[in-house]
Structures are given as C-alpha cells and as structure tokens.
Symmetry: C2
Subunit: 458 residues, 2 copies
C-alpha cells in the first residue's frame, strides 16, 4: 500500500507564522486626508494587539499556545497525494493538496478566526461583528467565538443567505447571530436598501454594516473581525503553507506549481506565502492565484488605491480593485465575490512574483464533480476554481510529458453549498463574464484617488 496522506504530529506544528511584510515593500493605507493612517485611527475597529500585528515587519511571529491548542482540534491538516485524480486525468504530474476542509467549520477560515478571537479576548473585547459571503467566514468566526466565550454577530450577503439557509443554522449552533445584509440595522445597510431594495448584497456592503455596528457600540467592548484582505489575516493563514513545506520535506518532494483560489486572498496567501519566500530567495516556482471570470480583480482590474468596503469606512488600500461600489454578479462561489484583493497579494501580482488566472463558472463545477468522483471529497465552489486551474496545469504537463509537482489548497468542502451543485446538474448555471464597459464603469469610483507607487522587493 502506497501512502496517501502525509501527516505531521501536533508536536511538529509550526510555532510561528510567516510575515511576508518582512520581505516585500508595501504602499501604506491612506486616510481621508491622503496621508498614511496611524495605528490609532484603527483602534475603534480592531484591538491594538491585532493592529500591531497588522503593521509588523517581523518575519516570524510566535503563535500563542492558546491558539495552537484550539488549532489542534483539526490541525495539522493532511497533505494528500491525489493519485485518483492523477489517474482520472492520465497526467504524469504529481498532484498534492492541502486539505483545509477538515476544520469544524469546513474551511481554512478558522485558522485566522481562532487567532482573532484570542487576541480580541486578550484585549478585553466581549463581542465581535463581521460580514460573510458564502458563509464560511461567519461560520468560522462563530466557532472561534464559542471557543473563547465571545458574542458574535454576522452580516451575511443576502444572496448567499437565501441560497444557503443552513449556514445561519450552523452559526447558530455555535451561538452566533446571523442576519442578511443589507439590513435595516445600520445606516450603510439602509442606504443600500434605499438604492436597490432587491439588491443581492455584496461583501463590500456587508463589511460596511459590520464595521458600523462595531464602532457605534458605545460600551467600547465590540470590535470588528475581517476574514481576509488584511495583513494579519494573511499572516495567520501561513500555517497552511508552513505545514505543507514540512510535509513535503518528509517525503523528499517540493512543488513546481502552487495554486489557490483567491477572493480576498487569504487561502491563497496561506498556501503560497511560505513558498513565495522561497521564490524570492531563488526557488523556481510558478504560483497561481485563481479568480472567477465573473469578478476578475487581478486579471482585469488595475492596481489602485480604493476602499475595502462600499460605504468607504475603511482606509484606502493599495490593491487590485473593481471599485468599491461594484456588486458582483450572483455566481455560486460567494467567497470570491469581492471587489478588491489583499494588498499583499496585489503587490505580488504587480511584481510578477505570482501570476493570476481566471476560470469560468462551468469549468469550476466540472472540476469539482471530477474531484468528488475521483478523490471522494465534494469541494466548496471556491475551491473548485483552484481545481479547474490544477486540471489545466496537469493537462499541460501531460502534453509536455513533464512530471511536474502541483500543490493546491483545498480551501473547504462543499457540504453546505450543495444547492450550487444541484443547479449545475440541472443545467441552470452559465459562465458569467464581465464586459469591458461594465468594468470601466465600476472603476470610476477611484478615478480621483491617489495612485500607489510601483515598488519592488530588494
């Protein structure tokens, strides 16, 4: 019997996160006056210990024991050799995936949710607010809050709330309170509803609601938690790639190609950043963040300063953006329906260290079904974007007759996303593309904003 999974013991888990800010140069976030924002201006939104982490340039940041302890509920996650998928594709490539679907919430999101809940608890915070798209992040934060005894309130993008009724139940099982966004509980929500009472909602609007809900709590005991985009979120996810590197060492292998789907950027950053470190230091690797053609942030939109949310509550971030007012079409990978992209990932795209790819909705579900029937696990629609790209690369390796090593991140399972598969099987889904005129229009909102500098790492 050849082994399928490469495990680490709990003792072998990484004890530090990798902070990519030590190795690349970044444009600073800007305030309304056009000047870099200081840590203090973020204090109403995040606890100071997380703000310090957000701006830190230390390369290695120690993972607190209390966080590691909760992570062992499912970590280290297995690195799996996808032999059955290889066989189904008839490819000479060796395909490995990091299985992040084994967490209680079913995705990579708890890696940062647990850390954020811990740091908020340490800072004396009693309640967290957040937004969620597909529901993965809201579930993860509800779970994490239950582990540390914090309250949790989640604004869920309405289209996902309607498509995935059991996400609310899941958050409820952990004690979280989930409501559809836009809601009438915030000014941002009421504005969005006034503009379009039938809006499917967007992550941008939901973020605005959650931030508003946190900063307007006069007790001072509520903060906001973000599931992607920010530096400290990427940092917490690097445990994925750090584990994978150790696992590859165990079998004497190393990836030539690394692939992760990218909505806000966090699962991609998690698997890729530790290998980006290797690439910056000389390794020859191809690294692909994969996005939907229906929300082509990296492949079509410019690198600009824009807000992270629709109501412009966040500072201006240097990133690829379709414009903060952009409401993505209602495709089924809710976690990838975000107008922007993490500033760190955007910077890597600008420098050409990582190469963005876009895939069509139908190809992603085809990929997911092939994966389910060969490898057994039904993937989340988001993860299917990575798998579609893996299949392209594996087929390329077949054409070229090369035994490439491909690594991808299985960011989550699709057991709460089966309605999307239903619609795919029923032939109700189509490829959702953006035309150039729509793109131009959506990007008008940042026309007058400052422009980020073109930076290069040393």
């Amino acid at each position: 019997m050849t082994s399928r999974k490469i495990f680490l013991t709990e003792d072998e888990m990484p004890r530090q996160w990798y902070n990519i800010l030590a190795d690349i140069k970044m444009n600073p976030p800007l305030g309304p006056d056009g000047n870099p924002v200081g840590p203090d201006s973020l204090a109403p939104v995040f606890p100071m210990n997380l703000i310090e982490q957000e701006v830190s340039t230390e390369r290695w940041i120690t993972i607190p024991d209390e966080v590691l302890d909760i992570l062992t509920t499912w970590r280290p996650s297995p690195l799996v050799r996808a032999r059955n998928l290889e066989k189904a594709l008839g490819t000479p490539a060796k395909i490995y995936y990091k299985n992040e679907s084994v967490s209680p919430a079913g995705s990579h999101k708890p890696n940062t949710a647990v850390a954020q809940a811990y740091y908020n608890k340490e800072f004396g915070i009693k309640k967290l607010t957040t937004e969620t798209g597909a529901g993965q992040w809201g579930s993860a934060l509800s779970y994490a809050c239950s582990q540390f005894g914090l309250e949790c309130k989640i604004f869920m993008v309405r289209i996902s709330f309607d498509q995935k009724p059991y996400r609310k139940s899941m958050m409820g099982a952990w004690g979280g309170n989930c409501i559809p966004s836009p809601s009438d509980q915030t000014r941002a929500g009421r504005d969005a509803l006034a503009k379009d009472p039938n809006t499917p909602g967007s992550l941008g609007i939901a973020i605005s609601e959650a931030i508003e809900c946190a900063v307007t709590d006069e007790s001072g005991e509520t903060r906001y938690a973000l599931g992607s985009v920010l530096n400290h979120v990427m940092l917490h996810q690097t445990i994925i790639g750090l584990e994978a590197r150790k696992q590859f060492e165990k079998v004497g292998d190393y990836p030539d190609v690394i692939i992760g789907c990218a909505g806000g950027g966090s699962n991609f950053a998690g698997i890729a950043f530790p290998f980006v470190y290797d690439k910056i230091h000389g390794k020859d690797i191809e690294i692909y963040p994969v996005e939907p053609m229906g929300c082509p942030t990296m492949t079509k939109a410019p690198f600009v300063y824009d807000h992270g949310d629709t109501a412009k509550y966040t500072p201006l971030l240097a990133m690829h953006s379709l414009g903060h007012a952009f409401v993505p079409p209602p495709f089924h990978a809710g976690g990838l329906r975000y107008h922007g992209m993490a500033p760190t990932v955007s910077q890597l795209v600008c420098e050409g260290i990582v190469t963005p790819r876009a895939v069509s909705q139908l190809s992603t579900f085809e990929a997911g079904v092939l994966f389910a029937r060969s490898e057994g696990i039904i993937p989340a629609p988001e993860s299917n974007h990575a798998i579609a790209c893996v299949i392209e690369e594996a087929n390329k390796a077949k054409e070229e007759g090369k035994e490439k090593v491909i690594l991808f991140n299985l960011s989550g399972h699709g057991l709460l996303d089966l309605a999307g598969y239903d619609r795919f099987f029923a032939g109700e889904l189509s490829n959702i593309l953006m035309n150039d005129d729509d793109l131009k229009a959506s990007e008008a909102v940042f026309a007058d904003y400052p422009k980020p500098a073109i930076l290069k790492h040393d």
Copy 2:
C-alpha cells in the same frame, strides 16, 4: 501544549477485521419454512463473497489492499481527548472520542460501503441498490460506488428526503440516484402508499423497495447493499474499535466505559466489538449502546425472530424488534428509526455483555449543542444520543469522584442535519416516547413466529 489527537499512521492501520461470530453463539436466520437459510438463498440479494463473509466464524478476516487504499482517504481516524467537554462538565472523567465524521460522506458508513462496493465489483456486479434513513448510508454508498465505477440507486425514507434536501444533492455529486420511499417503482412501495399515501416512510419499507429493485433486475448484474444490521457490516466497522485500541496503547490508557448510538447497530458494533472481545476474555468494562426513547428496540422490545423489512423479503433474524410493520415517529435522528437491531448486538444484549440505554430527543440536542460549543464539531443527531449518555456517565463520575475513562464514537457530523438544530433552537422539538399499548400492538406481527434460543458464549 498537551496533545489533543492520537493518530496512527497509514502503516499502522489494522490489516484485519474482527469477526465477533468467532466468540459468540448465534441463532441462525430462518427461511419461510422455519428452517435455517443456506447461503444460496441469499444469492439473488448479495454477491457470494459477501455471503461467505456473513456466515464466516473466522475470528480475523483480512482487509483487501484495494479497500485499505480507499479507506486511507480519511483513515486512520483520530482518537480525540475531549478536554474542553471535560472542562465544561467539570468532570474528573477522561473523555475520548473516535472521530468518524472525517470521512468524505461525514460518518462511519463509508467503512463498510467501500468494502461492499469492492466485493460486489470483484463479483462482477455493475449496480447496487440500497435504502437510506438520515441519508448517511446512501451518501456513503454513492461515494463508494463512485470509487469503484458502480451505479448506485438509493431509496430514501420520505421524511428524511423532505427534511434533508441536500442529501440527494450529495449523492448526486457522486453520481448516485436518490428517490423518496415509498415510491411507485416497486410493489412494496405501491403497497405502502396504498395503505397510507401520507406515510413518512420507514427504513423497513425502504429496505423492501431496494431489495425488490435488486432481485427483479433480470440482467443479474444488480445486488442490494445494507448499511447496518448484518454480520458483515458489523465486521467492516470493527476497524473503528481496532484503531482505537491501538491508539489507547500509544498513550498507555484504556477505556472503562464505551458508548455508541445504535440504530441498526453498526457504528456501535464498530467501536465496541473489539472491546467486547476483551470483556469476554476478562476485562472489566461497561459497554452501552444508546437508542432513542422514540424507537426503544433494545430497552423495551423483546428478543424474537422477525423480518428485517416491512414487506418480509428478508429471512427471519433473531433480534430485538418492535415489529417489522412498525413506523417510528418522525424524530430527527433518522439513522436510528429502525424497528430491529443487529442480531449480533441483540445477542450481546441478551447475554448482558452490553447494557442498552435510551435517551430523550431534547437531551440529545442539548448534548449536541454543548459538544459543538466546547469541542467545536457539530455532531449528527444520531451521535448526539451517544453524547447524551457520555454526559450522564461523566456527571456520575463527578458525583462519585472517580477518574473513569470514557470512550465514545462520534459517528458523524451534523452539517447535513442543521434543520433539526434549527427546530431545536426554535423550541419546536419535543420528547417522543412510546407508550406500552402502542408497543404491544406493533409487536403483534411476530406473535406466531419461531422463538430464538437463549444462547451463551463459552
């Protein structure tokens, strides 16, 4: 950091199943004439290689490499020390659980589904039919069939089909065809519908439909697969307890109390039988199969000869039974809504080797919510029965001031059962009990059948 999970490597997986028929005496299955049925009479229903396994009295049966290979998709499953649950209960007991929720279908069921699909494939079978209650078994068999290229048709008990729409999608993702039972596709189904067009269905009816569908296929290439009750199913599940025994050895511990929920008996058998072997050979252990008060097979019903299905297609089995015509009330643990109990488990109950317990529906959901908020994993409603019993035992240990070691089987996660949690939180669930008059009436069907002998192991 104290470790939470005890892992085995794939190399350390058990290479043989434990067959309890080597260690206990059993009443034989009887045919319509009242005489023991020979293997040949089962040949239209099961492939001969599985029939041989069903009647084998070899203590150790080798697990084929092809089966082990697929099992490594998720096995060995972790043995987990439930420290957070211990803390929440303030108990001196040490609580361990075997986490069977990590399989692709989310339960223990794939352990036997993979084996059955393999043996059918080996025998030249092209298509399997089966029934499913909560949907766990149907999902597992769809998954297993996808791994071996077999067709799969599933009759799903109507109330579960309606309560859990995404189970059908899940089976579909693996290529399985799931229809609600009773259906109009079989005589058994049409009879049930004629009797009560609004019947919620039952496992007994669905089994009849699936058997009929298999034996009436004139190509001879279809067989039936059962997810519980039979000896070979119990056999395949013993990998759970065999792994657990090895894992306990690794940490130098051993359970005083073993707990599993029991519908047909297979997840209970899986965790318990290897320890039953130890108990028969002198170990002092308490072993509790736990059933719902709404379907009290072991705690209220007699040990008799009865059919395994409503239409009386199966031989007479010596077991605890509420009567083959019994339609259990519509509580949410669909996997426990079966009128009988595995003959092997029933025999152990008769001999007093295992001690059945019954728990109320509300206590099971309370237990599940406590588990979700302490240990993080949202359990299946079936598994909540085990957890409710664990909590009783842990509280008893607290009263007695004893540091007992409790082991239970977390048979599955509840991510496809969130509607039940919703109804629990909404206060819509109640405790469903059986009154003695109803029990008497349901048992009238086997009044004239032969009576099993009272047997004792050597």
